[in-house]
Structures are given as structure tokens and as C-alpha cells.
Symmetry: C2
Subunit: 307 residues, 2 copies
Amino acid sequence: MSLEVFVLGTSGMQPLPGRFLTSAMVRRNGELFLFDCGEGTQVSLKMLNLHWKRINRIFISHMHADHVTGLPGLLMLSSQVDRDEPLYIYGPERLREYIDANRKLLDMYINYEIRFVPTEPGIILETDEYSVEAVPLLHTKPCMGFVMKEKDRPGEFSVENAKALGIPCGPMWGMLQRGSDVTLEDGRVIHPDQVLGSPRKGVKFSYVTDTVYMGHIASHVAGSDLLLCEGMFTRDLSQDAFEKKHMTSTQAAMIARDGKVGKLGLIHYSPRYTDKELRQLKDEACEVFPETVLCKDRCSFELTNRD
Amino acid sequence: MSLEVFVLGTSGMQPLPGRFLTSAMVRRNGELFLFDCGEGTQVSLKMLNLHWKRINRIFISHMHADHVTGLPGLLMLSSQVDRDEPLYIYGPERLREYIDANRKLLDMYINYEIRFVPTEPGIILETDEYSVEAVPLLHTKPCMGFVMKEKDRPGEFSVENAKALGIPCGPMWGMLQRGSDVTLEDGRVIHPDQVLGSPRKGVKFSYVTDTVYMGHIASHVAGSDLLLCEGMFTRDLSQDAFEKKHMTSTQAAMIARDGKVGKLGLIHYSPRYTDKELRQLKDEACEVFPETVLCKDRCSFELTNRD
């Protein structure tokens, strides 16, 4: 399988012309997952023509305005289509209160069920095909990063090999695909690796914002094909970053390097920065981790198996 | 005096690329007044470079998401500057709850005093120089239009006439300017109209959205130099408009015509409309009231005395 990641907004604190507040959407096998929902999220979704109104799951990192004020409008507009499935929303307990207060005070018409799931560190969602883990971060209020990981799948079944080995087409093929040995009529035992290619590694995507730098983040995001990570400040402001419980782009790059990720996408950068500082922000990160891109609103990534 | 009016967003219901949700700002003699605050308001303010963070008064028509979801971010960002004066916010009682809930749930840092004024029909603000009236509208929830009117001022004092009439420069000039007769030493009585030009009419601005058409609106907005008014739908959807408690652009034009306003600016139009329907929206209004413009985001108007 593969994941498509759409960066919907890259600004921290304040929405700007051409730079909406922090949000990213993941599309996987027809399902839509939203990570944070700052002001402007809806506009980027519209510009990308993402047919987002049957969104499946929303993950909110923390309860700061720049990560959540786009949510009421988005929940309401989602009612413009019919849906049978509930919308799952993951976030801190206060998010439930926030949604309830907005629904009540704005008389929001919502035509589907919202199932709120309070986020605790660890696996918060698991299906046969993928899982989502919440990673505790350290910010001025409780905050989580999210790691979405597809499960590895067995290698591709080689019909050619199976035929060459004289394995009759039928239940034995399925058993081998599921990883069991089979014994043929002539007494030969066939092991799965004789008919399966190398295991197909699932794709991994990580979303980390707003936090101070902490070593354990790298171990959670390790091996991600893409890490979207805040790089709020340039290196000269590392003291500021620490006091405001944010990171420099260098620290984001350290996490990417230590976690040996495929690519680092910098998001949630200071609204004060214009092109010059943004080049510096990216250059500083590239010194530590060359595979860094400075995300712009509505940039996208297609993540496919690296094997 | 004069008013400058900046239209910050023109969309109803849903923010779109290039069309943020409904909001307008008025600047008068250094004071800033905001009418409604949908998602994207901050971005337009930034694009217009309006130095808005010491905003003085905010008027919210009603508690629907498309008129209010930009407010929490705006209140928070206003704390990036220091101010001594309170920020006055006028709106339905629920707005107070909404602000309180957002402040609490988003831990909003606000470094100034907010004075909330629940809006009742009638004059809600009056100074020596201007007044603001709330006009009851009829929507799916309690809603008010707003009329901002500068007080008329006496005509300009003609030094030339005063000298020609032999009125000595001094207290008598001030008395005449304030509208009193004066008696000269030689016994002649001078009336103010002998030294004052014709009275200078105050400028009037009206903001009307979301409502069904009602005859009384015209009498409240009568004589406005500019009426910003919702024109949500084209004429063929007048039944829809009525059911959704909105107006067609034709109805907005009827109010403008009956109120003999200077200019009608259409706002809050359907997000489904693209250029073709918007031309129709405007053309239909122009048939009834030729001085109609279809407002675009960040268009502005300078209103000066018409006399």
C-alpha cells in the first residue's frame, strides 16, 4: 500500500497570506486522516480538491488555537454530504469539551456521529493493516505526536515458483501465503520463503509538533518514510525555542537523523520568517539531515514501500 | 470626518480560496471597528496591512460559525501588542459564553480587558461624534444588523464673513460656531447662519447580514453612504433564500433603493457561485438599484460627507 500526505498549512501561531495554520491530511486506501486543524484548513482542502467531507479520523495534537480553530467549521461543512460511518476524533480530553461547547454555542448542524477518543500515549488505533501511536511530547500544555504505521506484509507469492515446485493450485497456496509450511503428496515440505518474495515493509508516517527537543522522539519515529516536524526557529533562537517549548529546525533534523527517516518535512515555522530566514531554517536542518524539505502549503508526498 | 470600510471576507457558510468568511472593518479617526469575524479574517487584515491589533470594538451579528470562528485567533493575536484600552465586543449573550469557553479551553493568553456588551435593538453605542444602532433581523437564530452614523456637524466657520461683518476675533466666534446668536457692540445681532456654511452631514455606514427581507430594514439604513448587505442568492432561488432565512441580491437592492443609500455592496454570497452566477447576482441587483457593487475580498470604500 501507500500513503499520500498533503500538507494543508505550515504556519505556527498565526495564519498568513499563503501560509495557513498547521494541518496535514493523509489518504490511504480511500480513507482520510486529518492531523490538526488550524484556521484555513478547509481552504487548502478545497484548493487541493480532496473531496474531504467524508473524512474518517481526526487527530489533534493539543489544545492551542493554531491547531484547532479550523475544526468547528470543518465539522459543520462535513454535514453537506451523507455518511453512515462515524467520524472518530482523537485528542486531549479538553477537545471533547471544545467540540461540545462549539456545537452548543454555534448550534452546529452535524448529521453524523462523532466518536471522541481521548488520547493516551501508546497505540490509539489498530486495524489489520495499520496502527497509529500517540507519542508524548513536551509543550506548554499536554501534546502528542502521531505515528502512523502500516503493518509489514508477506512478500509477493510467486505463482511461477509454486508451479515449478509442483505445488497444486488450491488451499496450499493460501497456507504458504499466510506463512505456514505445507507438505506435498510426495512428502516434500515446502517453506513459505520458497514461494514468497521478500517481506513488503509497511509505510510509516510521523507528525510531530509542538514540543521541545527530546531524545525519545527519534525512537518513536524511527524508520519513518516521512517525518513532518515542527522547525519553528533558526538556530540562533534556540534559547527562545526552549523557553516557548518549541524546536529549532536543527533539532527537528537531529530527530530525523537519529531516527533514520526517509525524509524530513519542516512545518509550523515562525510567522515572522520570510524567504531569507526560511532558507536559513532549511539550510541549518540540511547540515544535520540532508533529506530535509521546507514544506509549503499544499505540498504533497507519496509514500510507497521502500523495499 | 470620513469612514474607510474594508471588506475582509465575502463568502457565506464556507471559506473558499480567495473568498474568506464574512467580515468587514471600519476605520474612523484612528479607531478600528470590526463587523463579524469569520475564518480568514486575520489573513485579510494582514494582507491589507491594517495594523489591526489595537482594534477598538467588535460587533458580531449572530452566533453562526461563519461569522464568528475567526474570533478566538484574532483575540489571541491582539495580545501581541500592548494596549491600555479595553476591547469592547457587542453581540448576543451567547457570544460571551463562546468567548469564555474558548478562553478557558484553549488557554488563550489575552493581555487586555474585554468588555462584553449584550446587543439589544436600538442605539448600543453613542459618543459625541457617532452612534451605532443594532437593527433586529430575522434569521434562523437571533441576529442584528448594525448602522454606524456620524453626527452632523455645523457648517464650516467663514473667517472671511466674520471679518466682513466686523465680528471681533475672540469668544464670539466660538459662540457662533456652537450655534448661538451674538450681539455686537454696535447692537447688531449676528445669527450663526451668517458665518457658517451649510451643516456638514455625518457619514453613515450599514452592515446587514443574515436575514430574510423585511421592510423595516430600509428605514434603519436610510441615507447610508454605503450599505454592505448580504445577497446570498440569485432571484431564481428566492424560495430557497426564504426557507434558509437569507436574501436574494434583488431583495438587498430593494432595501438599498427604498433606503436611498449611496451605494450597495453585496457580501455573503453563496459559496457555490462562480463568476457566471456572481455576474447574474450583481446584474439582478443593478436592475433594481444601479449603484450596486459585488464586493470582493479586501475591496475598500472611502466614505466622505456627500454635502
